[in-house]
């Protein structure tokens, strides 16, 4: 077991290195320059744009050969230096440190919301198979997975903020994270982000439940005279949880720079998604690489965690 984990960790590092290298090359071979955005402003003040460009690129070491930049970056990284974000004028880690909480709370709440409701509806649907409840849930889950989250966000703002005025049209960072107002203003973003996930979980829970309901141990349990509640809760659900864990974990990994980012944009939440995309538009490679790596490690870690949870939930599985 231990050697398995070590092996996996080593492998993770190699994958992360591959991703880092690809990102670095992509960023530095492109034709764009961080100075692009400022050209008109520099020119409007009567400066020679080209010499300003050269000066700025020299200041951030972007004029060196790409291989030298790469080695320099790697060298710093190995010493734990993540570099300086020239678009935010801050150490990269400080920038990430002040923004991650906004993504984290959103994703956490959305996931909890999706799991609780999704699993609940899925069970409801499965135990009432082929009834009206089942069909309604099924249609709802189809709608849920098909509705674009960012559009749902826009519609929520349109109805509840613009027309009804129940919520603010934007996310207000002046409320402390641990306050009721903050929780309240996260309702719409959580709905926008969580609905898609929720619908997915309904479907997975339902089919996993149905799969297990047909298995022999259920029949045995029922034959033993156990109550339906115990059968569903203790036997069926426990076995159905396993595939669900994978799905939830996978979602967690992919959501940060996907759905969560779009939700952040729509609601103006200053999370990591926003940070990374602004960095892309500013050619701020130190930030882009750092957030890509964080995303990567999260996925890798989640994969490993999933495998380990598996062995815990199902002792039959062993990794060697």
């Amino acid at each position: 077991m231990r050697s398995y984990i070590i092996k996996r960790l080593l492998y993770s590092v190699i994958i992360a290195w591959g991703i880092l290298t690809i990102t670095f090359i992509l960023l530095r071979v492109g034709p764009t320059s961080p100075v692009d955005r400022y050209i008109l402003n520099i020119a409007a003040k009567g400066q020679d744009v080209e010499s300003v460009r050269q000066a700025i690129e020299a200041r951030y070491g972007l004029d060196k050969p790409i291989i030298e930049q790469y080695l320099l970056y790697m060298g710093n990284l190995l010493q734990g230096k993540w570099g300086w974000s020239f678009s935010a004028s801050q150490p990269v880690m400080e920038l990430i440190g002040s923004h991650w909480i906004y993504s984290f709370q959103l994703i956490l709440l959305a996931t909890i919301f999706a799991i609780i409701l999704g699993v609940g509806l899925g069970i409801l649907s499965a135990v009432n198979q082929n009834t009206k409840i089942d069909y309604a849930t099924s249609i709802f889950s189809f709608i849920g997975i098909s509705i674009p989250g960012f559009w749902l966000g826009l519609m929520l703002i349109l109805v509840f903020a613009v027309y009804l005025g129940v919520f603010k049209t934007f996310y207000d960072t002046s409320y402390p994270i641990w306050s009721l107002e903050n929780l309240r203003q996260l309702i719409m973003p959580v709905l926008a982000l969580g609905t898609g996930e929720l619908a997915g979980y309904v479907r997975y829970t339902r089919s996993a439940m149905l799969d297990n309901l047909r298995k022999e141990f259920v029949t045995t349990a029922r034959a033993k005279g156990l109550s339906e509640r115990t059968v569903i809760g203790k036997h069926v659900l426990r076995n159905a949880v396993l595939p669900l864990v994978t799905i939830i974990m996978f979602d967690l990994g992919s959501i940060v720079f996907g759905g969560a980012y779009l939700t952040e944009i729509v609601f103006g939440i200053p999370g990591l998604g926003q940070v990374s995309f602004n960095a892309i538009f500013a050619n701020d490679y130190a930030v882009v690489i750092a957030v890509t790596l964080i995303g990567t490690f999260m996925v890798l870690f989640i994969n490993l965690a999933t495998d380990l949870i598996y062995t815990y939930l199902d002792p039959r599985i062993r990794y060697d």
């Binding site: 764009t32 189809f142 509705i147 559009w151 826009l154 613009v162 996907g258 890509t292 995303g295 990567t296």
Partner: protein, 320 residues
Amino acid sequence: MTELKPGQGGRSRIPLRISHRLWGYYWERLQKNRLSLVGLGFIGFLVLTGIFGPLLVQDPQKTDFNILNLPPLGFSIQESIYDIKTNEITTTMIEGRPEHPLGTDSKGRDMLAMLVSGARISLLVGLLATGIAIFLGTFLGVLSAFLGGWVDNALMRFTDIMMTFPFFLLLVLIVFIFGPSLAIIVLVIGLTGWTGAARLIRSEALSLRTRDFITASKALGASDTRVIFNHLIPNVSSLIIVMASLSIPGVIMAEASLSFIGLGDPMSTSWGTILNTGQHSLDSAWWVAVEPGIMLFLTVLSFNFFGDGLRDAFDPKASV
């Protein structure tokens, strides 16, 4: 239905090319799923719209500054204009007009024409990018399974890297660096979206490789290419079809998301770009954000309905 169960494990399918009768069988099964027929119907309608629609409506880029923000037919909005010269505010009721049944946007472009153009773009991107991804995935999956050894190893490690990459971040990065055009968007989605297909096809191919009919044809002296094209590909074709139909909505959503954050092809009108405009006029012209979202939603929903039905039809096990 059990008498027709193809293969042993239930995971492999009878080659479609060989049995024409099977097509009829699958079609019959598909027909039983009413929702998937509805989905198919809507997809058919979209395809027709995409092909012939642009001939029937005006140029989606045509502007008319006399009819800015015209509401859809049957709706009316109050509009106040401030005259800077006379310092007077005039308020008028603006009603939808039959020549612009779905209204116009802030530049006086016809919403109907733009939505039709968007249908074309969405389908084009959806089909082409999925085509590229599935082709690549199949090719690499089969290659990996058949060549084995270091090729398999290298390909699968690369697949791991690509799968771990935060997908949307990579998309934004490449599209930003190389400039947003439809070709780039299609290529990037296609070139990054093959990983799932490659893995699935590889494992399918691996299990097929050990099966009797393949061993037999190899013993009879068939070349690898022959085995691949005559036996393997036909055997995984139904899997490919299901995979394609289920991944199209994701691709359409990815294009819409890119356009929504301003990385769409500026030369063409897609639903995402309209949504982007709509986000900016959420307070003054709700329909610009509502209409393309509904189209996007219905399209994704239809593909999900259809893909789901298709999967059920091809997979006798999943008859629930």
